[in-house]
Amino acid sequence: MIKKWYSRGFILFFLFLSGCWDSSEINEMAIELAWGIDKASDKKVMISAQAIIPSKLGGGQNNGASGGSNGKPFFVATGNGMNTLDAVQRMQTKLSRQVFRGHRRVIVIGEAMARQGIKEVFDTYTRDPNLKLRTDIFVVKGDTAKNFLQVSYPLENIPGLGASGEFTQMGSPAEMGMLNFLLSATSAGASPTLPAIAIATNSSLQNEEDQDDRPKSGREGFRIDGSAVFNKDLKLEGYLNLKEDQAVRWVMGNLKELTVTATVPDEKGNVSMNVYKVSSKIQPVLQSDKLRIYITLAGQGAIRENNTRLDLTRTENVKLLQSALNKDAEERVRQTIAKVQQNYGADIFGFSDVIRRKNLPLWKSVKNNWEEEFREAEISVTAKIKVRRIGVTGPSLHLNPHETEK
């Protein structure tokens, strides 16, 4: 009997040897949702963290007098160091609460840092078990990460969540940024891209419409502005604009939906279409010692805007629009690929992986000189968008019936 109790006590004792003694209360943590990496002098990195101030966030029992008006519900802490953890140590000296990184949603990289190359600082983001891979990464176009983190965003309390939300609205799979980046960074031939984000009131990069409706004084909001192309050393090579970025992601099959707009030359109008079920097919062939890559873009969708006079209840009119859209998409993708081939020579489309998967002997023959092969490859693009729906009217309703073309 005594023996039995001894054995039970023994087992229970082991319970306390193991387990997590790292208990910490939520109100003793600085919950950090966005994270910035910047270049600092002396080959150091500067880490900025955007942490929430819980008492200033609405919704809880503490809202009311203290909510909203007293300032931003977040603040940015920074620290410089040899590497990330060193910088975090420095940053912690300015914070009364333990930095909690488990809920990081967004990592932003300053442009200077990106140009210097992020290979040397990236290890901790995959090593630390508390960090999640489901994080979005952005490159701040033309600015530092710290500045980006200090910008407030009108729609979201925490600006970091705004960046992540904007990215999702672009039709990209949510929170896959980190994972996709790592996948293409580790691939043999492919080069990674990262979405680029720009602070909206940065005048040199501003779009026309932003100038009209935003006051010059406050730096508020930001926008996804294409993507940043990295080379195999994970150094920033350059940027692609929004349209090009969409084309890249279409080729990669990394897009959930997109909107295609094309002018219809014969009809003096334009047409827009929501495309979903977006997919692509890449077929590499070696023809007379020249690498040819056939890309087939596919998608189905619904016409959402039709500024031509065409009556869409007629099949041949739909076919007309469809071919215009296809032509436009083909052209766009072809130009993008050509630009990447000429300017960057970085295989951001992941052609190398496709070749290796589909034709291993071919890949072995081109692998040693892949960058050159990629620059030289002949690309032909076919788009096969199908119009599935035309909306609720045939011809535009505001047009007089005799104005429409049957």
């Binding site: 039995k4 054995s7 039970r8 087992i11 319970l15 306390f16 193991s18 387990g19 997590c20 790292d22 208990s23 910490s24 209360e25 939520i26 109100n27 943590m29 919950i31 949702l33 929430i52 819980p54 008492s55 966030l57 609405g58 919704g59 809880g60 029992q61 503490n62 809202n63 909690f100 488990g102 809920h103 949603r105 508390n130 999640k132 925490i158 969540l161």
Partner: protein, 532 residues
């Protein structure tokens, strides 16, 4: 016996059948003068009045007929009006006037011709006489006879059959057991009119001499279970049994388990259904609560209405119940574990809300939750014990003080109040009250484990609990039956199959497992029944 991990941890010691017979204690009063009744009435009267010395409720009523007759009974247990009419009047008047003078009025004459009572027994010893009196019978002693007549004329005040307060149902019979054993047996007998329904009587309690009835249906019941019940009840040595809980504690398999291994109910329909499933019911006098064995884990999650409502709805309700009972066990500990150890697992927006409401709360989450759980248990306990008029005051104070004021004052954070309230509601959704108490109890060790070790602690706690549950037995039937060991008959565990498809009795029932013939699925076709 198999051991776990070779150490023998959590071994459940099963009851040995040959437990040593306890020595009869001196409480057994009847032993002293177990002499036979004498022929002389005066001597018998003297002996009995010595026994009932200083007992004002024992009435000695001599009748001076020839020969002399003495009536002894307990005042209040006897229907005195009937006693006057059917016993005293015939002896006083009829005995002499009906021309029976020449025949001497003997015990036989009184028993067979004079008193009009249905149940009459003969007592030979003083003990018989004393027991007869105490059980609410009228004892008739006749001068010159050494045998006593024990006439049953019970007529004491008793509660009528009412709707059981603890087990309410929307649909289903509304009668409940009462404190009278015979009323209770009659409620069962009315439902099962079969000679196969057996009701074995026995008496437990050296002082209280409480009647206990073991009810079962012959041919359906498992003989091993029945034998086990008889044995265990036969081995009880206790001075008095005031409630079936007294018996339960003596016959359960593992006394230290938080899980009840014996079901209790106030509803005759539950008892009848259990008997039809091959279970054994133990009825104890003076309590409306009837024990049913064996109990399995799953009976704890079945409500009586499951069998009266349609099976589709019942199946849905069962899933709700299963989730609620997990909530009742785990929600507070999960909250503590997630918010103090594994904040990564909380969705970001929820974490922000929690962080917001936790600002300025002085206690750690664990202490906060423990405090609120404790307060909730206190509220519940006070609500039960309070007189009804004060009960509403308790709930108002509870709702205002704990629900609102504590949160507004910033002493407790709102999520904890939500967690505790949800847990409370969930724990009341467990249909069997005594089964729910097990979970209410286990919540606290779980909370401690979560507070010390986080999710790891919860998992360890669950492992311990599951190991215990798997080793637990009720009267030789595995507690998790029929899921562990996996049986064929799972139609009444997670789902409740339609009545016509539950063809078999549970596995622990006796040899006759077939319950109803197959192929009774109704359909709109002619004849109303499909052929497949």
């Amino acid at each position: 016996m198999k051991t776990i991990g070779g150490i023998g941890l959590f071994r459940i010691k099963h009851r040995k059948n040959s437990s040593k017979q306890l020595e009869s204690s001196d409480l057994h009063l009847s032993d002293e003068h177990n002499s036979e009744l004498s022929m002389e009435l005066a001597l018998n009267e003297k002996l009995l009045s010595e026994k009932f010395q200083a007992s004002s409720d024992i009435i000695f009523r001599p009748i001076s007929s020839s020969p002399k007759v003495l009536l002894i009974y307990v005042d209040g247990l006897i229907d005195t009006k009937t006693l006057d009419q059917v016993v005293i009047m015939p002896i006083l008047y009829d005995g002499a006037s009906n021309g029976r003078d020449q025949v001497p009025v003997s015990r036989h004459v009184i028993e067979e011709q004079l008193i009009a009572v249905a149940q009459v027994q003969t007592g030979l010893t003083i003990n018989d006489a004393v027991n007869g009196i105490l059980k609410g019978n009228v004892l008739l002693l006749v001068d010159g006879e050494n045998k006593a007549i024990i006439a049953e004329l019970k007529g004491f005040e008793a509660r009528t059959v009412e709707e059981p307060a603890a087990e309410v149902s929307i649909r289903g019979p509304r009668d409940g057991f009462t404190e009278t054993l015979r009323v209770n047996t009659s409620l069962i007998r009315r439902r099962i009119r079969s000679p196969k329904l057996k009701m074995e009587s026995t008496t437990v309690g050296q002082v209280s001499q409480t009647d206990i009835v073991i009810a079962y249906i012959e041919g359906i019941v498992s003989n091993t279970v029945l034998e086990e019940v008889r044995n265990r009840i036969g081995q009880i040595r206790i001075d008095g049994v005031l409630e079936s809980g007294y018996v339960e504690e003596f016959i359960e398999d593992v006394p230290w388990s938080p899980f009840p291994q014996i079901q209790n109910t106030e509803r005759p329909d539950i008892v009848s259904a259990s008997l039809l499933e091959g279970k054994v019911a133990i009825l104890v006098d003076n309590t409306p609560f009837v024990l049913i064995v064996p109990m399995t884990f799953w009976t704890g999650l079945q409500a009586v209405e499951d069998y009266y409502e349609r099976s589709i709805y019942t199946t849905f309700v069962r899933f709700v119940r299963f989730s609620l009972f997990n909530i009742a066990l785990l929600l507070p500990s999960m909250y503590v574990a997630l918010s103090t150890f594994h904040q990564q697992l909380i969705p970001t927006n929820l974490l922000i809300s929690i962080a917001n409401s936790r600002e300025g709360v002085p206690f750690p989450t664990f202490v906060e939750t423990l405090l609120m759980e404790f307060m909730f248990e206190g509220l519940r306990e006070a609500g039960i014990r309070m007189p009804k008029a004060v009960g509403s005051a308790v709930s108002i104070v509870g709702a205002l003080v704990i629900g609102q004021a504590a949160v507004q004052a910033g002493i407790v954070s709102a999520p904890v109040v939500i967690v505790v309230a949800t847990t409370g509601i969930a724990s009341f959704a467990i249909p069997r009250y005594n089964f729910g108490t097990a979970y209410r109890l286990l919540r606290f060790p779980m909370l401690f484990l979560a507070g010390i070790l986080g999710l790891y602690g919860i998992i360890s706690g669950l492992f311990l609990m599951i190991i215990h549950l798997l080793r637990l037995q009720s009267f030789g039937v595995p507690y998790m039956n029929p899921v562990v060991p996996l049986g064929q008959n799972l139609k009444d565990v997670f789902i409740r199959a339609p009545r016509w498809s539950m063809n078999m009795r549970p596995e622990f029932s006796g040899p006759n497992k077939k319950r109803i013939p197959e192929g009774q699925q109704p359909s709109s076709k002619r004849g109303g029944q499909s052929n497949d």
